[in-house]
């Protein structure tokens, strides 16, 4: 348990091992039901989103040819920002998760998709699908927790460098796509030693990222601006702004997924020999939703249903809203708290944590072991990070 939340009781202390496995079986049943009913309606949905996104992007880029005129600049920039967000979130993220692989359409398949982002799809799929989704919220294993540059849990030792972490976080938010690329490359780890820096696999990965970034930069900051002739500089500014908006938005949504109050983190040893039920439980406790309307869900790539997404990462995103009431009901029946809140509240909560952890823990009790009741019937691997 994190001291931040000041929980005096272990949130799963009341669950027996049999309860945890029963939760797993119920979630499997929800999953099976969706898989059995995937069909033309779902296929039509993703094709529609892709079509709207492409038309919006084409239209916005066309308008930006005349970005010298302020109304054109505003409309084009707004449209392009929305198109980029849709492309990254509801389309790219979800396609690369394999949510649409069942359609057998090579144009909408996780192994073929490349997205409008600095990080090449192959590297992102590894760090996101394999690492983040497997080791969700496990301190030291899940790099999504603080991206290796921030203190995200009281149990992490404080260092004066962390005083600046609100600034790091803001800079990371502004240039989030490059942050993702850097962290998919595990730059921090791989630049640390000469041997790692020279490893052929690392060098090949760097080359791939450089090529991808090169093309992306050429597109947004050279070719499209050149095409707009006298609007050259205005189009550069427009594309930069659209990328910035996309970065800030995706960063905010992703912070809301695992940072706000109510989300648990786990210690490294807690996941050894984890059962399926326990894995599900960790996803349930380690994620938070964003409440809102249909538009909010689409614009967040349905990561507003972060809990449902983490339970079922490869179910079509349009189905998360549908299974959410069942998942919520399950939380309630088993006395677990389903963390959810409106976007501004969740963003504020996540930022508050960033600020708070920039400082050393306030009292000594925070670093002393907490007298929490032993979880009944659960293996010790289900203990929280010691505090």
């Amino acid at each position: 348990m994190t001291t931040l939340q000041r929980k005096s009781v272990n949130p799963i202390a009341h669950l027996t091992a049999a309860d945890v496995e029963a939760i797993g079986r119920e979630l499997d049943a929800i999953r099976d039901e969706v898989i059995a009913s995937r069909g033309a309606r779902d296929a039509a949905y993703i094709r529609k989103v892709i079509s709207v996104q492409r038309r919006l992007e084409l239209g916005s880029r066309a308008v930006l040819l005349f970005s010298l005129f302020p109304p054109a600049w505003l409309a084009g920039t707004a449209g392009l920002a929305i198109a980029k967000i849709l492309e990254n979130m509801e389309i790219g993220h979800n396609v690369m998760h394999g949510q649409w692989d069942w359609m057998q359409d090579p144009k909408i398949h996780s192994t073929r998709w490349e997205w409008d982002n600095a990080s090449p799809a192959s590297q992102w799929k590894h760090s996101h699908n394999e690492l983040h989704h497997t080791y969700t919220n496990v301190v030291g294993r899940d790099n999504d927790l603080g991206y290796g540059i921030m203190r995200v849990d009281e149990s992490q030792k404080w260092h004066p460098l962390y005083l600046a972490q609100p600034l790091w976080n803001f800079v990371n938010a502004c240039f989030f796509e490059y942050g993702i690329a850097a962290y998919d490359l595990e730059l921090g780890r791989n630049l640390a030693t000469r041997k790692r820096r020279r490893a052929p696999a690392f060098r090949a990965a760097v080359k791939e990222v450089r090529r991808k970034i090169g093309k992306q930069v050429l597109k947004d900051y050279i070719v499209h601006p050149l095409l707009s002739g006298p609007s050259f500089l205005h189009t550069i500014a427009a594309n930069f702004t659209a990328n910035l908006i996309r970065n800030l938005w995706t960063h905010s949504v992703i912070m809301c997924g695992h940072f706000p109050k109510g989300v648990e983190t786990f210690e490294r040893t807690s996941i050894e020999g984890e059962t399926r039920g326990e894995w599900y439980l960790r996803q349930m406790l380690g994620s938070a939703n964003i409440s809102g309307g249909r538009l909010m869900h689409i614009m967040t790539g349905n990561l507003s249903h972060q809990i449902e997404h983490h339970l079922f990462p490869d179910l079509p995103s349009n189905r998360y809203a549908e299974v959410a009431p069942k998942v919520r009901d399950l939380f309630e029946r088993y006395g677990l708290s389903y963390t959810s809140g409106p976007l501004p509240k969740q963003v504020a909560s996540a930022w508050a944590k960033v600020f708070r952890l920039a400082l050393p823990n306030r009292d000594d009790s925070a670093t002393a072991p907490l007298a929490a009741p032993e979880p009944r019937g659960l293996a010790t691997r289900w203990q929280r990070t010691p505090v």
Binding site: R38, G39, R54, W115, D116, V223
Partner: protein, 352 residues
């Protein structure tokens, strides 16, 4: 000329940069799906019912489609319940047009979907025509076509194109009842005008056609080049009869389904590159097991002929569904297997 070419390829690279990470055609697809040079598609122009359970689809192929030879088939990719499924259909039109006739297969997902839901304007995925069930450039003087059920479709393509070049044509066609004869009216008209000799056999009344019965119906059978298409049972019988008569080179057959004789043991199939693991039944080809798990599998004829679906087997064992032959690979060995006619025989590992 070289300058123009350099300019064109340079301009194209700029267009590619404009659309990166997608390709320009991905945007073009929004307005002109038939113009995509990288993805072949066709539009349904007309849907014409033939019998109670057969419809002809008149198709307009997209850019890049190469004309077929009569007797060949095309593969159509049809989205059924959101899932792209590929099936081969014999072309029934003369080159220049593109028509296929879809016959209902009992329990057939794609055929029944097309018969119920195909409408003009819909866009299907398409592959180039393929198959060697065609007449030779030197047209034989005497030809016999033996067909049953939907097996008449490739032959219809040949008759519609080549009839003028053939002097002596006999068509022996079997169908359960007269009303079930696909292209019945057209065949009977050709017969009435004396351009072909048509023997219609209605199996519900007359029973299944045996090679002996066929020999009685067509006494000069040995002098003819024969093209046969229909159920595997009939084709196997004809093959044996022709072999025995020493006429094997004169019989050309087209099968719609692989002749399966065995089932595998089933097992866990691992697709190494995607990391997908599926429990595959011993009767399910690896191709279908992979597709059902969302793996993008290369595929072609789906009956063991075209070798498009071949993937490297790097571990375990598979059984050939046609003859039960077992292929086992040992550590470090790599054996290409036809996934459309091979099923798991225990755990196996494909490098895909």
């Amino acid at each position: 000329m070289a300058v123009v070419q350099a300019l064109r390829s340079g301009a194209w690279r700029v267009v590619e940069l404009l659309s990166t990470p997608l390709v320009p055609a991905d945007y073009l697809d929004e307005i002109a799906p038939l113009r995509n040079p990288g993805v072949l598609r066709c539009r349904i122009e007309q849907v014409r019912p033939e019998t109670r359970d057969a419809v002809t689809l008149v198709l307009r192929p997209g850019r890049g489609f190469r004309p077929h030879e009569p007797g060949q088939y095309v593969r159509l990719g049809v989205d059924v319940d959101g899932v792209r499924r590929w099936r081969a259909y014999s072309v029934t039109s003369a080159p220049g047009g593109l028509s296929v006739t879809v016959n209902a297969v009992p329990g057939g997902v794609v055929s029944n979907h097309l018969i119920a839901h195909a409408r003009p304007g819909q866009v299907l995925h398409l592959d180039q025509a393929a198959g060697d069930f065609v007449l030779p450039p030197d047209r034989p003087a005497k030809v016999l076509f033996v067909t049953a059920g939907s097996g008449v479709t490739p032959v219809m393509g040949m008759l519609r194109t080549h009839l003028g070049e053939l002097r002596d044509v006999v068509v022996v066609h079997s169908a359960p009842i007269p009303e079930a004869v696909v292209f019945g009216a057209e065949l009977r008209e050709l017969a009435a005008s004396g351009r072909i000799r048509l023997v219609e056999r209605h199996t519900r009344a007359d029973g299944r056609l045996t090679p002996e019965a066929l020999a009685a119906l067509v006494p000069d059978l040995a002098e003819r080049h024969t093209w046969a298409c229909g159920p595997n049972g009939m084709l196997d019988d004809l093959g044996a009869y022709w072999d025995e008569a020493g006429l094997a080179g004169r019989l050309h057959v087209e099968r719609f389904r692989p002749a399966t004789a065995a089932i595998g043991e089933g097992g866990k199939v691992t697709f190494g590159r995607t990391g997908t693991v599926v429990d595959a039944d011993g009767s399910v080809p690896l191709l279908e097991a992979g597709e059902a798990a969302g793996v993008l599998m290369p595929s072609g004829c789906r009956m063991g002929i075209c070798f498009t679906c071949v993937l490297p087997l790097t571990g375990g064992a598979v059984r050939d569904l046609r003859d039960g032959r077992l292929t086992t690979v040992t550590e470090g060995e790599v054996v290409p297997v036809q996934t459309c006619v091979s099923a798991a025989a225990g755990p196996c590992h494909l490098d895909h």
